[in-house]
Symmetry: C3
């Protein structure tokens, strides 16, 4: 993909810059306590779609200003939950079961935009987080770095709503149903050293200031030493693999076969034999075969009944 010009996108709720092969996305709503609003949803979806296809980018770090009141203080429900529902979709009303209604949870839309990004993604949680600030802005990332003093609130059942942003899908898979239930069904507020969060965070930092630099250093090391195509395929094998070991074997056999013979696979072997750092050059835009994706996806966009 031609290199997108992030500055020209006119983002207001986020700031974006590239530091070599690492993209940094920073929440830019400190004055509003980094609340989650519709305009932020639009910008996050836009930027993660670009980052996914920008061949220069190998790792994405998402963070907030460490001096902000919070990493993300949740949805702005200053009037009511209605602020999260579009007028347009309301006209359509609920439809059939399963794919039932015009409404699409914006938390899930954000979550899936991050989840589908084929680069390594890291959330640098350098402040308190509430609701969507814990679910959508943390769970779909590959890694989570967090401030030891962060208050992490999942108050859904105490607000009369359910676990949103596909957290009911991601959390049990990330850390198991026992801990996921403890987090979501109590509606509680947790600190990173909580046993119910055990395993969720990759690294816990003592101060807010240290979180982003630690995540960035981690990101740069990975950006320098990993293959973009190998990363994308490994992420997909973890989340889009087979339902049985046999089905998975057929998929990863193809993946290994393709990657091992590609330029990055050969470079990986040569570098290892020559005891030097590998110089990976394959990109998703230029060198990813059409065997990816191997899975089919349900279309989640709502189609209006009438033109």
């Amino acid at each position: 993909m031609a290199s997108p010009n992030y500055a020209a996108r006119g983002y207001k709720d986020i700031k974006v810059y590239l530091d070599g092969a690492v993209a940094v996305v920073t929440l830019n709503r400190a004055k509003q306590r980094n609340t989650y609003v519709h305009s932020l949803v639009v910008e996050i979806v836009d930027v993660f779609d670009l980052l996914d296809r920008d061949d220069r980018v190998r790792v994405v770090v998402f963070t907030a200003e460490h001096t902000a009141p919070a990493y993300c203080s949740g949805a702005d429900i200053s009037s009511s939950w209605d602020t999260l529902f579009g007028k347009e979709e309301d006209k359509e009303g609920p439809h059939v079961l399963v794919c039932p209604a015009a409404h699409r949870d914006s938390g899930g839309i954000v979550t899936m935009a991050i989840f589908r990004c084929r680069k390594i993604t890291i959330a640098a949680v350098n402040g308190h987080a509430v609701g969507i600030g814990v679910t959508g802005l943390q769970l779909p990332f590959d890694f989570r770095f967090v401030w030891a003093g962060a208050k992490l609130a999942l108050p859904f059942v105490r607000r009369g709503i359910a676990a949103e942003a596909t957290s009911g899908y991601l959390l049990p898979r990330l850390i198991g149903h026992a801990k996921a239930t403890a987090l979501l069904l109590t509606g509680g507020t947790f600190m990173p050293d909580s046993p119910y969060l055990q395993g969720l965070y990759h690294q816990v930092l003592p101060t807010r200031e240290e979180v982003f630099p630690a995540a960035l250093a981690f990101a740069k090391e990975l950006a320098a030493n990993t293959s973009q195509t190998a990363v994308a395929v490994t992420k997909a094998l973890l989340w889009r693999g087979g339902d049985t070991i046999e089905a998975h074997h057929l998929i990863d056999s193809r993946a290994i076969s393709e990657l091992a013979r590609a330029r990055d696979g050969n470079e990986g072997t040569r570098a290892f034999m020559e005891r030097r750092a590998a110089n990976f050059q394959d990109t998703l835009g230029e060198n990813m075969g059409n065997w990816m994706p191997w899975w089919s996806e349900i279309e989640t966009k709502y189609r209006r009944a009438k033109l």
Copy 2:
């Protein structure tokens, strides 16, 4: 549902009472070491079906007398395993594969009755537990409180039988296959501080006396501050969600859409804005839309081949 009269059910193996919105079910077979017998199965299935539909109930605590010899000392196999098989179903014999035989594991029947209860469920394990006392009477609950001194035995493979009561389904999902295998394939006896149990218990209490009060206090706090409908939907999202993130997104979008606009969703927002405790009034019996359940269930009851 009209409020059931638990006293009128004539339970003998359990005692049941309501403490506000918290229902307490206590095993009443201390003289028989709280062994698991057919009459107990019938009463547990009956009471959890009622508790599921009793709109007064928000949380269920299941426990034993802390002075009993055990929380549950397993199935009474004083004669043989045959005590667990009905004469009637034996006549039918095994049938086709998958849904294969007249026999339905009573441990699974109990487990599913608890698992399907849409209220918050808590097991207060204030004594030793063996077999079904660990599987059926602990795994299907949302939370497990346990005495630090409890001996928890899973001896199936040392008794010539396999992991029963759907423990082969629940345990890997609750804490992962590595730990589930360690528990079920060794047939061992474990204490709550065992690394193989890590994550399974919500809280560990030093004495038997403390287990039930801790569970009850936890239950009352949740009963006072959570929405009955939000709890039921969150439980279902955790266990009956989509197979892919996209499928899950369609489901939880509908859930959020319905709940946020319902009375409890509005009350949750208002209470938050007014910095007061929420007063949730929606009930499963009166206010749950017909979009729940969104999943289909295999019928597990056995139908006789002949009338």
Copy 3:
């Protein structure tokens, strides 16, 4: 099955002996740092197929010499990844999606041979391990014993390839996606006390010498006191159970029904009542009903397009 003569199989890359009902398989390539080569694949697949069907065997311990340079130092890629691809399959080329190509990852073939073994399997990891030495030669086992000083490297994304040997299937299920991602997407090297490995190892031993004896003692105790049929069914219930709790209930109901009335089930009850050790005699070859397996498996062997 007639008792196979392991000595007559002419293995060169492994050594095999029976110690009562425990089979010990030892890597025999210490001079080559226990690298993984095609001939080793062939022998491991052959021996695990035999061990699966050898009724004398109840537990399998897989290990290396503790004086070897490594437990397994990974694939021998001294020339290139091409050493892992057969000439024959290359002629066929890639085919349709999903079941797409002639190539079958040899790491997956080894993994599945171990995974399908219906006996208790234990990896005694008494040295460093790299790549397939961590995935294929550890993950499909029921239990992993490890030396505290072992360096465990999963460098795939740093070599330009993806997570192989069905590790993308096994690792998230064993310990959850959060830890599996940390292991596979960093391409890092980990020690057994790493939080990202938490739960994966059954026991950690301080010296290399202690790993195999600890695993062997564990194996002998299990071999003496568990039912071969109960073990096989429990393993299958953990990995081949139902997709929903209802589907699982139908399966384990049949399993309990069959096992409880079989000889081992009766012996388990009698021994318990008589407060003596059980003497289990049922074997997979003689006493396993045709209700096992209850699941269907995708055929993974490649069929040539032309004769």
